[in-house]
Amino acid sequence: MKIPKRVLIYGYGNPGRQDDGLGTEMAKKVEEWIIEHGLKCMQTESNYQLNIEDAEKMSEWEIVVFVDATQEDIHEYKFDTVEPDEAQVEFTMHAVSPAYVLHLCDKLFGKKPETYVLGIKGYEWELKEGLSDNAKLNLEQAFQFLTRKLAGWAYIKDNLPISMLRE
């Protein structure tokens, strides 16, 4: 019997700044999906931004997927593998990158979980609650993609609706 992977899905961003809340919105959606499928091997987390204590959090998991809003010139979303990186550009350091947290996790806790970042394209960043219409569409696309991945890691593909199995 295959043992499901233990996966943390970590959405971050400020939901009070429109599309900057894409990461935390994804965490909410995935949380519902996890409950719906009764998956004990997966958990969600969300916060305004990543910080050093997240190194300890991620050390407890086999796979970590960070979800963040991005302004990059991409289509709906992108899914990249994260490699440890100690580069830290912000001189006041009030937030850190997934690569930096992974690096810290390795150095402080001796763990290097398989790590990915799911960047979802956002468009509007004003002081408002709620995603823009285009961001909502991107979120949905990214959600379909991510849940297919999660289903694969949890070995539950056979039980999913066909619509969720399309690659």
Partner: protein, 483 residues
Amino acid sequence: MPKKITIEPVTRVEGHGKVTIMMDDFGNVHDTRLHIVEFRGFERFIQGRPYWEAPVLVQRLCGICPVSHHLAAAKALDVIVGAGTGHGLTAVGEKMRRLMHYGQFFQSHVLHFFHLSSPDFLFGIDGDPALRNIIGVAQANRDLAVQGVMMRKYGQEIIAKTAGKKIHGTGAIPGGINKNLSIAERDELLSGPDPLNADKMIEWSVAALEFFKDYHRNNKAMVDTFAAYPSNHLSMVREDGAFDIYHGVLRAVDNDGKRILHDVDYQDYDKYIEEEVRSWSYMKFPYLKDLGTDKGWYRVGPLARLNVCDFIPSPLAQKEFEEFKAYTNGKPNGMSLHYHWARLIEVLHCAEMIKVLLNDPDLQNEDLVVKGEKKHKGIGVLEAPRGTLFHHYEINDDDQIVKANLIVSTTNNNEPMNTAVNLTAKSFMNGQEVITEPMMNAVEVAIRAYDPCLSCATHALGKMPLEVTLINAKNEVIDQKNK
């Protein structure tokens, strides 16, 4: 209807520190300017919104210190709902807010010390930049780095349990709080498995202080002279002069320790404090009205708080405070790098107070909210980790906010940070035509001592690079470095 304010991308994105250094004909530093792009649209954005939304709305300002804004707004609205100021709340109301505030202070200061400052102390300001970060700390002193991470985590847990959740917490509401602390939550924080319990946090806070003091003993000349200068200091203190970060009166002292603002009610803050606008800076320059712009500026934050208060009401921190005060013979301390010393004494005080509060059965009371006669104006002031924070709201008969004014801690420290950068530039850059890495870091160290929060913008956009530009007497850029 609220007025729609569009923040141009440049305002949001350019949350950076920019230092311009102007040289004279002889190649010496003539003048310097620290530009910090501060987010200023919020006060207008909040106009027209129902007042009770403010404690949650203000958390949109900042993902770094949302608790400070949350509590300052709630304190202002306490006045508006007739719950009075500070001690007008029920015991559980005030104590839950205090616990939230100590948790926020603790984790914020810990992040600053362990992640930002300890690398400079371990490897030196001019140390190898490849090592001068927390990874370097982890390699040189793994226990220290792990302690920093776990102390942060503990503070975050306190916030989550008192504010209700990590993002857009709702713990504080006008006139009180919306939840108390359950016995299970209390036990987890008070006596959870090592290291996440109150006693371990006190022990590690003492150890962090010892680490700094040891560095200080071995590097006295540098620590005591780096960006040291005389100034006024402003802070809130309890009515009896005790250190208090949640409630009290406003006091300021000059460089000799003479009081220049005499324990005034912060509801009247605008009688005493004004903000100057300068053409080259987005951020205003606050000062004490009575003394004017040249003589009235002041420092806020850990150093100022310890310079202003008479004592610290917790035993271990008080002992450290006495040593701190003795170092300058009881006079105000003007040494910028002593901000770190003061900050760590505050960490210890917060750890002690967290334990005291967790043992207080009032936290399980259920009388969460008080109300009284409604008012149309309320001002909430508290000491945020970086310094004194002012929230001022006025409402109309329809309960809509018609005026909001915020003076954030980093704004209060605008002139002091500029002064520190100026002194540092003169020390490190006179006669130079190229910005070297140690010079760049020296400027950073000067700014970092004040722990400015430049992140009142969205995190995804708000990368905070530092740009240093060197300009000669002909106004030509002779070097520029980014980090």
